[in-house]
């Protein structure tokens, strides 16, 4: 059986837990609970003839006085970075978080989810921000844990990437820039 450890990484309150909950249980909770430590979920995903069990490590988010412990990230096969599209600082933090994760787990496949895409009237991310991320070589998607938009595809993309399947970081056709 193929198992892949995927770490959910981001600033607190970006929706990491909600994305996992949507993906694994198909539910959405509007009530915010901060994660303490790591919550571990699993989900099987069929990729053609291959079944992969994703071990989803929902890691507590970074706060002003709490860095994400690298011990949680070690051994990860992929990183699922999450930013809140309505909080610009959570996108800015991604660059540093990527370095933090790289130091712990090496160069593993990664994806960036700009989450809360259902809140378009509060969106704070412009095309130049997205371009910066793409230029940095990451695959960027817009997601909404509330509506489910982009969630399944994001995890599938990352699962494929852990198998070394071709996954062009420049194929960003699904990233629509803010209007």
């Amino acid at each position: 059986m193929i198992q892949k450890k995927i770490c959910m990484v981001g600033v607190y309150g970006t929706g990491k837990t909600s994305l996992v909950q949507r993906y694994v249980q198909s539910i959405f909770s509007a009530k915010y609970h901060s994660t303490v430590g790591v919550k571990v979920d699993r989900k099987e995903v069929n990729l053609g003839a291959t079944t992969v069990t994703l071990l989803l490590w929902d890691v507590e988010g970074r706060t002003a006085d709490h860095e994400i412990p690298t011990s949680y990230l070690r051994g990860a096969h992929a990183m699922f970075f999450v930013a809140d599209g309505t909080r610009r600082e959570t996108v800015d933090a991604l660059f540093d978080l990527r370095e933090h994760a790289r130091a712990a787990a090496g160069d593993v496949p990664s994806i960036v989810a700009l989450n809360k895409n259902d809140l378009q009237d509060q969106w704070r991310i412009g095309p130049s921000d997205t371009s910066k991320l793409i230029t940095a070589g990451v695959h960027v998607v817009r997601t909404s844990a509330k509506t489910g938009e982009g969630v399944e595809d994001s995890f599938r993309w990352l699962a494929n990437a852990t198998l070394g399947e071709p996954a062009s970081p420049t194929d960003q056709s699904q990233v629509r820039h803010a209007r």
Partner: protein, 275 residues
């Protein structure tokens, strides 16, 4: 991954349970177990003893609390059966802590979940009717510095670090679930008594959550049944955990719960780490 697993820090652990001031029977059970596979170098003339680092095996502590539901005799039976089944299963399966790569760590987590399922199956075998006795179960397996958590129901796990108390379990009650998905308001859930109904229980509808918490020297870990938290506020718990031995802390926590009313059985396990 436990690549950073190091010489075990001394862990001081104690557990205590009390029937409380109102109930006639104690439906809580708990267990604290230490497991080790020792490698002892009896004699050598080797100059270089770093081989000891490679063969040293970690000490593993199992901490489990359970709060039975289903009437005094049924609840007591349920929590006892579940704790016994978990202890037996972990004792049998403990060989898997010998390996510390990621795949084996997941296997270890799977074994811990399986231990809880064993307790669930035992209860189901004993009581084949729907709505039979059930129990909460909160279990920490401590392979320093990592705490592996399997949690069912509304008993709780906390850790204290530098004076800050953090709850690492989330209550599994119908109130929490329905409020989470937006089906009812907190006020409605409170009024309807939904916070007193478990949405997940060993022997009932079992939906265990699995987690990991990495601890540091100086941290204190607490597992408790709700007989503590319904009477003792977080800041008081933090103050008690901040000083003294684990044994002293367990007694003080029980005393505080009794002083606060003692309306329920109360069980606590405290682990304090330090060199």
């Amino acid at each position: 991954m436990l690549a950073e697993a190091r010489a075990p820090t001394r862990v001081d652990i104690a557990g205590l349970s009390n029937v409380g001031k109102v109930r006639s029977a104690n439906e809580d059970h708990f267990a604290v177990m230490a497991m080790r596979k020792a490698v002892e170098l009896r004699a050598t003339n080797l100059q270089e003893l770093t081989l000891l680092d490679r063969v040293r095996r970690p000490e593993v502590h199992l901490l489990v609390v359970a709060d039975g539901v289903g009437g005094a005799s049924g609840g007591k039976l349920a929590s006892g059966v579940a704790v016994r089944a978990v202890v037996e299963y972990v004792a049998e399966a403990i060989g898997c802590v010998q390996d510390f790569d990621v795949d084996h760590e997941q296997a270890f987590l799977d074994q811990l979940s399986r231990a809880v399922e064993r307790g669930h199956e035992r209860l189901k075998e004993m009581f084949q009717t729907q709505g039979g006795p059930a129990t909460t179960l909160t279990m920490v397996t401590l392979v320093w510095p990592r705490a592996y958590v399997v949690h069912v129901g509304d008993s709780r796990g906390y850790y204290l670090r530098q004076g800050v108390l953090r709850q690492f379990t989330r209550d599994q009650t119908m109130g929490d679930y329905l409020v989470d998905i937006g089906a009812v308001t907190e006020q409605h859930a409170q009024k309807a008594g939904l916070y007193n109904v478990l949405s997940s229980a060993v022997g009932g509808d079992l939906v265990p959550t699995v987690g990991v918490v990495d601890l540091s020297d100086g941290d204190a870990l607490l597992l408790c049944t709700d007989g503590l938290t319904k009477h003792v506020k977080d800041d008081r718990i933090a103050a008690i955990l901040s000083s003294g031995s684990a044994e002293a802390a367990t007694q003080s926590l029980i005393d505080a719960a009794l002083a606060g009313g003692g309306t329920d059985n109360v069980t606590v396990i405290v682990a304090k780490a330090g060199d």
